[in-house]
């Protein structure tokens, strides 16, 4: 079975919608049908892609449309086209139902009921063929964690503020008030973080959900409205991009292209085979990017900004040369 499901093709979806409306008794002329399909499929952007499809509608002689009266086109069959979800989607649904994260979204009875609905199709669980190697064990999905997650979800959905205590490196911060904006998931760390707007500090903050305690919905009429998350985040974009020279050794350019692919990057080949990488980023991603850069060792050289060059120099000065304590032999 092919991965690409052609019944998700935009022309097919548009045509199905028109046929279903005709079956429901809607009166449409031939030209209205064309216009609807063109509009629904966004055909005007790249007309020729759909030209073939529209040509087939025009020349349809009784497969789907009865064009004997062009002002009142009739469907050949009266029946609603209903595509159930495909086998690929069902396989994916089963993978989701077997994921360790599903209790965050559905109750056990809901999970069981969906599993039961899939049972008679005897679908294989494809997730058993996939092994994920994260960098850390990540968050434990405990009942308390689920409760916090859902409360945050609800607050985002309803644009509400929450109150919580936050265990930070500086100690326990009690009675914080923030409005959750997004739930952020790091696949590498398997950790959930909440991006929030903190009205007291007038800035966006981030907290590990695991470290948030006593999370509760707060009264909303005491705090001011929040700018959109797009606006908040765009204000936190670093003014100067990071420029790196990626040396052409040990596959480093390719590794860098892949590792930094989640960021806004451009790469440019240099004459000696090295590459120049320019990386635009949000301020709050800086430390993480820095650690990624370090992992390349001498294969990635920071060219700018100056403060990052200094950070690498400090890091390198910390290295204590190979030393053999008593009881160990070299090699």
């Amino acid at each position: 079975m092919e991965l690409i499901n052609e019944y998700k093709n935009r022309y097919v979806l548009a045509l199905s919608a028109v046929l279903n409306r005709l079956s429901n008794g809607k009166t449409l002329s031939k030209s209205e049908i064309y216009a609807e399909i063109q509009e629904a499929a966004g055909v005007e952007k790249h007309a020729a892609f759909g030209a073939d499809f529209l040509e087939h509608i025009r020349s349809d002689t009784g497969l789907l449309f009865d064009f004997s009266d062009n002002t009142r086109v009739q469907p050949v069959r009266n029946g609603k086209i209903q595509f159930p979800i495909s086998r690929g989607e069902k396989l994916y649904l089963l993978m989701i139902l077997n994921s360790k994260y599903i209790p965050l979204f559905l109750d056990q009875s809901e999970i069981e009921s969906l599993r039961h609905a899939l049972e008679k199709e005897k679908l294989p669980d494809m997730s058993r063929y996939i092994s994920v190697c994260p960098m850390r064990k990540g968050d434990d999905i405990t009942p308390e964690f689920i409760q916090k997650f859902r409360l945050v979800q609800k607050a985002i959905r309803e644009n509400r503020y929450i109150r919580y205590d936050n265990q930070t490196r500086q100690g326990l911060l009690k009675g914080m008030l923030s409005r959750p904006l997004r739930i952020e998931f790091s696949a590498a760390d398997q950790v959930f973080r909440i991006s929030m707007w903190n009205p007291a500090e007038g800035r966006a903050v981030k907290a590990n959900l695991r470290r948030m305690r006593n999370v509760q919905a707060a009264e909303t009429d005491t705090v001011q409205p929040v700018e959109s998350i797009h606006k908040i985040l765009s204000s936190r974009q670093a003014s100067e991009p990071i420029c790196l020279r990626i040396r052409n050794r040990r596959n480093a350019p390719e590794r860098a292209a892949l590792l930094f692919s989640m960021y806004d990057t451009t790469m440019k080949p240099l004459e000696n085979g090295d590459w120049l990488m320019q990386l635009r980023y949000y301020e709050f991603d800086k430390q993480e990017i820095f650690r990624h850069i370090l992992s390349f060792g001498p294969s990635a050289e920071v060219l700018s900004p100056a403060e990052l060059i200094e950070e690498v120099q400090t890091h390198l000065k910390q290295y204590q040369h190979f030393s053999v304590p008593q009881g160990y032999e070299k090699g």
Binding site: M95, F105, G331
Partner: protein
């Protein structure tokens, strides 16, 4: 239609038919974002083909693509990437115009109209009899459409004696209340950034959104931001999908592998997909059955092209054998990407006490040796020292290497020397 228009249409149809070429083109745009027309020429893409592909991609992907001006003054295509531009959508935009045979799809839609009632049941002959007009599709077309709809799981087939009876497949989303549909939409949205193939996840999310729309429920809006999601993985979804199906059918596969040289690899019994979340790389772990070998092998999925399923092997591996081989091959790899159990490397590190809990999470086989003030000594076995290097580079201030094979240690020290030289630090 004018001749020029016909030619343009043909070129555009070719564009959406030849997905292999498009994916290669997109891969370069996605990862590098600086290839000019001349760079593509070196990759074997002619000037006229470059402009065709660029124009077509721009028209399909719109806002997801952007044209950047390089310092040389030349133009290059780049992907727009930020937290809110989901690249899946860009690719799904492309998939949503994938070439099709209109006649085939029209026939399929007509067939699905016959199954508007869930309980109706038809044989292939019944379906053929429904097409009574003059210009009906041929029996062969109808049969192929039925097979296709069944393969995709829209119809289900039950055999009674010599006859096959078709009904519309059940839909687990049907009759789900709005609240569960919304929760399921969030689950699909989240998981398609966590479990591959993301394309299937997005199809599911699309179906759930449509159900919500049909029920006039509020539209689902994403609540997530994703970090470390390696966007390029979606370009390999097609390959991954074939490999997963081969694993399930217990069939061997062959494929083109774009290593240093492009070559064909045959007789691989695929066992697992391994995803390294740190680097974003996906690997195929399998058994090489060529000439009756049964050795574990590892291939990068982004280098695999045109995988084909080649039937069951004479002696398939059972789940227990696969698990054992997998564990043996990778038990000493903390990133899950090296496969050299016969060449284990033993390393002893001194790590600062604060780093110690983190080390235990990283290296599951780490053995405590002894302690000195502020430092803990641990012994680790890894498949290859190279695997440790990025971690060592990141934690230079927190570690000392106490024991490692001499050549590897010399190599590491040389790296540090070079690194210091680059930043003008005295040795």
């Amino acid at each position: 239609m004018k001749r020029n228009d016909m030619e343009r249409n043909k070129k555009q149809r070719d564009f959406i038919k030849n997905f292999t070429e498009i994916l290669e083109f997109l891969r370069i745009i996605f990862f590098y974002g600086c290839y000019t027309q001349e760079d593509y020429k070196k990759q074997g893409i002619s000037k006229s083909r470059y402009y065709q592909l660029t124009a077509n991609l721009k028209s399909v992907m719109g806002k997801y693509l952007t044209e950047v001006k390089l310092s040389s003054g030349q133009k290059a295509l780049a992907f727009r990437k930020d937290m809110f531009t989901e690249p899946h959508k860009a690719l799904l935009e492309l998939y949503s115009i994938k070439s099709f045979t209109a006649k085939h799809l029209f026939t399929s839609l007509a067939i699905m109209q016959m199954f508007s009632q869930e309980e109706v049941c038809f044989t292939a002959a019944d379906i053929k009899n429904e097409f009574t007009q003059d210009k009906v599709p041929s029996d062969r077309t109808i049969e192929r459409c039925i097979d296709h709809l069944t393969e995709h799981g829209f119809l289900q087939c039950e055999r009674k004696g010599n006859k096959k009876f078709y009904t519309r497949s059940s839909d687990p989303l049907k009759a789900l209340p709005e609240s569960i549909l919304l929760s399921l939409a969030a689950a699909a949205d989240f998981h398609c950034n966590v479990i591959p193939p993301a394309t299937c996840g997005h199809y599911l999310l699309d179906s759930i959104k449509r159900r919500l729309n049909e029920n006039s429920a509020p539209a689902y809006e994403s609540q997530f931001l994703f970090k470390h999601y390696h966007l390029g993985q979606i370009l390999d979804d097609g390959v991954l999908w074939t490999l997963l199906q081969a694993m399930d059918a217990q069939e061997i596969v062959s494929f083109l592998y774009k290593g240093k040289k492009e070559h064909t690899i045959k007789d691989i019994y695929p066992c697992r997909i391994i995803i390294n979340e740190e680097t974003g790389r996906q690997y195929l772990f399998g058994l090489n059955l060529y000439e009756n070998r049964r050795e574990p092998v590892l291939y990068r999925i982004d280098k695999i092209r045109t995988p084909e399923m080649n039937g069951k092997p004479e002696k398939p591996a059972d789940a227990e054998e696969i698990q054992q081989l997998y564990e043996t091959a990778l038990s000493h790899s903390f990133t899950g990407v090296f496969c050299r159990p016969e060449k284990l490397t033993e390393v002893v590190l001194a790590v600062r006490k604060e780093l110690y809990p983190h080390v235990l999470q990283y290296f599951s086989n780490a053995q405590y040796e002894e302690a000195e003030p502020d430092w803990m000594h641990i012994r680790i076995s890894v498949n290859h020292f190279v695997e440790l290097k990025p971690w060592l580079f990141r934690n230079l201030g927190e570690i000392r290497i106490l024991k490692a094979p001499e050549d590897m240690l010399a190599d590491f020290e040389q790296d540090i020397r070079e690194w210091r030289e680059i930043y003008g630090i005295d040795q």
